[in-house]
Every structure is written in structure tokens, then in C-alpha cells.
Symmetry: C2
Subunit: 298 residues, 2 copies
């Protein structure tokens, strides 16, 4: 009889209910989820009030999540879950670029831009930065026509999507490039600064209640895809940032810390443009990993 | 250096970030949550696609939750978490009524009704049922002026709040009673039947993907409160129901199975009313537990 279940006997009964799950992986996931949820509640002797606060917290996080703001990803990021999953999903050779978290601010369908010459700050105020990058394979050969999504926060710490008036076709600090025949792309933007994750939602409450700092070290997000290669989701962090050692979402890989040297006003060497004020440059190389035969065959 | 964290080293670093939490209970909860989330992801070797499906599932559950529909409670109920928390929160003496899950369909502010004589079906079609109940303390003494929330599904399996046109002041199968001087209240309604939990949301997807049945045995919900007593949240199930042994939310306590005898048309003995068709009765006694001195002092 599956009645009168107590806090211990209920777990075996919950497993029984999952026994007819046709997909073995789903069965495994549901069983492990049930086991850990139950163990968590028992270990804590979770009370009904605490349970209700948890329900309300997750509900509020769901309500806050829209096409351009994902509070549940932010929650996963700040609990270290996102980076854990990224880390265990990419045991890639050392010669290819390391992955880090996607974060909550990527959007699909950002404006398509030319491989070279675009300016993505579009009025966002900050120190000019010229990024010159190359996408290659593990043998160092250029990957032409790779699709490169770029997005980063402004000097005020906000991504464009955090502005209530944001529209996809008026994106700032965001764009999609295609690498040229030599695997290269470049663009002007502004130097990103460290910034706090958004703290106006339930994750912000958690950050305050646990007296953590909410900062991420300055970085630019990249997602680089090309048929035949494993998609690369990564950042290029700004070296010297004071939060490199305590990123609120645990995402810093030392191999992803980039050099952003400062230059006096004048002619910018990489593209010959005249710069009326001091500017920064960053040269980065992204190394893609070929899809494994097993993956490619799927 | 808290950079280059892998799927194993990230857990200790996540614990470090929680170390300044001022509230010791919150610290304990956050640490245990982090530990189990990380263990779950490692044990499963959760992939990025699976993680994203989880994010989307919780987001959809949040979006579906409103003032009158709580998909995250339904998720907790169907995973056995709710009943586990209820069970470990009430290690009450045998002589007092057992608790079970609140469920996702309770609403605050339902219509106030007289202690006796109300009819709460309000047009919902089914077999008439007269409930006559008494609220007492552990010594069997009546508890007058207890506030009794009642809610149950119709014969179609739906709660009133599941009707998009539902308004609080036009509630059906729902109401708030105050016990009389002898601790009694009574009302006419219709006999509830077993019903499926709502399967039009992400929890329904889970139920289908795991090939579980979605049914709950027939029951009436009660929440009974009175100053000086521990609030009682329980059901009175209908004996003989085929799903008593496999309640989709694990909520059946054998002490909460009630007798609902059928009577031929005629005069209803308890209130002397003339009944033109066969009807059912249920006599229930609810035994409240006095608040412990420790709780009362809070």
C-alpha cells in the first residue's frame, strides 16, 4: 500500500512511479533528481514555510524570465551549476579554446555585420576598443565563414537588452560576424568594465542575503559556430580586472584572459583609422575543435 | 585563485562564496542546495542540452503559475517533495488529525458562508453530498469559531479556478466556514470523483514522458485554523476510490480516508431536508493540536 508514506518511505515509492519511463536517460535523470531533492529536504529537515519560500522564489524567477532576461540561468550561474556543466561537457584538448558560461543575455537574431569595419558601440559611451580576431582549427588553419556572435555590457554595466526600450534591430554592443577567407573578423566597440549581475530580481535577493559581491570581471562574450566544428561559447576577459579571481558566476578560465593594451591617440595600426582619443586593442585567436566522428554521425 | 574551476573544484569555491551569510539557517540551506545540485549534475554528467531543457522546464512552470494555478507546487507534489516536507513537519500525536499536501488550488479569500445550510456546488453537476463535521481538540472538547477553508474538484475533475472565467466572489465547490459553539459546521455540495492533475503544462509533459497516471483519488480539501492551535491542512478522501493506493501526489493517509455512505431519496436525517434524488453523507471529525509553547512564544 502506497499510503501513509513518511519522509523516508516516500522516496522508494516515488522511484516506483518512474519505473515505466520509456527513455532510459530520462528515467536516470528523474530518479537522480528525486533522490537529491528528497535527500536535500530530509538533511535540512526543511519546514513548510521554507518550502513555500522556495516555491515563491522559483515562481518569481520564472516570472522575471523573458526572451531577453533569463533569471533561472542567472540563478544556475550564481550557484556554480552552469560552469560545472560547461566544464564537464568539454574535456577538450589543450590546444583548442576553452568554453565558459553562456550567461543570461545572449539573444538570437542580433544584427548581421560585415567581417571588418563595423562599430557596435552605437552611441554607448566608453573608451574605444578595436578587436581583431582570428578563428582557426586545431592545426592553425583558418576557418572561413564561421558565424561569430559577440555581446558585451557597456561601461555602465548594462547589456542593451536590459534597457526596457531595447529592440533587436537597434542592438548595441552586440552583433553577428562572419569570418573572412583568412578566418578573421574585426570590429570597433568600447572597452568593457566589470559590472554587477542584475540584482533587481530574486537572484539579487539571494546575493544580498548571502552577502556575496555581485560582480563579474570585464569580458566580451563570443559564440562561434561552423559546420563540422563543436560550437565554442566563451569570453575574452580583460586582464588586470580586480574581479578575475572572484567572478560571481565562476566563469574565469586563465586561458580566456585577454590582453587589451592602451594606445595613444593617433593612427590605429590594425586598420589605419585616425583615433582622436586614446584607444585600446585586443587581438584574439579562437581555436575550434572538430566535431568528433561520433557526434558528426548523429 | 578561483579561476579554471572544473566540475569538482567548483563546489568548494561555491561554498566559500556563501561563508559570509549572516543567517545560519540560510547558510545551511544554501550550502546543502549547492552540494546536491552539484552532485546531481556530476552523477548524471548532465549535458548542456539537458541543462537548457531544465532551465526551459522551470521557466515554463514559472510562467504558468498565477494566483490561481501553481505549477511549481504541482511539480513539487508530483515529485513527492511536498508530502515529504509535510510528513517531517508534523510528528504529531496519533490522536490528532493527520496533515497532507496543500496542493496547487487553494486560494485565499473564498466566500464566507454560514456554519450550516450553505450549498457550495452552486450549479456544479453531481451527486448531492451533505458533509457534517466537527472540530475538536485532543481532549475531544469542541473548538468554536475555527476557520475552515473547504475546496474540492467537481465531477468533471476541475476546480473552479481552472475555469478561465472564474472569479473569486463566484467561487464554486469552495468556501470558508466558522465552526459553531459546539465546534460543528455542515454544508451541501456534490460528491467529488477522482480526477487527473492538470496536464496542460510542463508537469503534464513530465507525467506523459514518464508514463505515470495523473490521477488523484477523490477528496475534499480542508484547512482549519484557530488561534492557539497548529493549522491543520488535510483532505478527507472518499473510501473505495481506485486511486487511493497510487495517488499521483503521494498524499493519502489511511486516517484521512472518510466514509461517504449513499442514501435513497427522501428526508436527509442530519438536517431534515427533502432530497428528490439519492444523496451521500460524510461525517468527519477534525482534531487540532495545540500549538507548542515554543511555537506560541515566537
Amino acid at each position: 500500500m502506497a499510503t501513509d508514506l513518511d519522509e523516508n518511505t516516500i522516496t522508494a515509492e516515488a522511484f516506483c512511479r518512474l519505473e515505466n519511463t520509456p527513455d532510459p536517460r530520462l528515467h536516470e535523470i528523474m530518479k537522480a533528481l528525486t533522490k537529491h531533492l528528497h535527500e536535500l529536504a530530509r538533511e535540512l529537515k526543511l519546514t513548510e514555510d521554507e518550502w513555500m519560500k522556495g516555491i515563491q522564489f522559483l515562481t518569481a524567477a520564472g516570472h522575471m524570465s523573458t526572451g531577453s532576461r533569463q533569471e533561472l540561468i542567472l540563478l544556475s550561474d550564481t550557484l556554480g551549476l552552469s560552469q560545472l556543466v560547461v566544464a564537464q561537457s568539454h574535456s577538450r584538448p589543450k590546444e583548442v579554446s576553452e568554453q565558459t558560461v553562456l550567461g543570461p543575455f545572449h539573444v538570437e537574431g542580433a544584427p548581421q555585420l560585415p567581417s571588418h569595419g563595423a562599430e557596435i558601440a552605437r552611441g554607448s559611451v566608453g573608451d574605444p576598443l578595436l578587436v581583431s580576431a582570428r578563428v582557426v582549427d586545431a592545426d592553425g588553419k583558418p576557418v572561413a565563414d564561421a558565424v561569430v556572435d559577440v555581446w558585451h555590457a557597456g561601461a555602465d554595466g548594462f547589456y542593451d537588452v536590459q534597457d526596457p526600450a531595447w529592440k533587436l534591430d537597434e542592438s548595441r554592443l552586440r552583433g553577428v560576424f562572419h569570418t573572412d577567407e583568412d578566418g578573421r573578423f574585426s570590429y570597433w566597440t568600447i572597452l568593457p568594465l566589470y559590472y554587477p549581475i542584475p540584482t533587481d530580481g530574486p537572484v539579487g535577493e539571494m546575493i544580498r542575503a548571502t552577502k556575496r559581491h555581485p560582480y563579474r570581471p570585464a569580458h566580451i562574450h563570443y559564440r562561434i559556430t561552423h559546420a563540422g566544428f563543436d560550437p565554442l561559447v566563451t569570453h575574452i576577459f580583460v586582464d588586470g580586472d580586480e574581479y578575475l579571481d572572484s567572478d560571481c558566476v565562476f566563469g574565469v578560465r586563465s586561458s580566456c584572459i585577454g590582453h587589451y593594451p592602451k594606445h595613444e591617440a593617433g593612427t590605429a595600426a590594425p586598420d589605419g583609422s585616425k583615433q582622436p582619443k586614446a584607444f585600446y586593442t585586443n587581438d584574439s585567436t579562437f581555436v575550434l575543435e572538430r566535431e568528433h566522428a561520433a557526434n558528426a554521425a548523429e
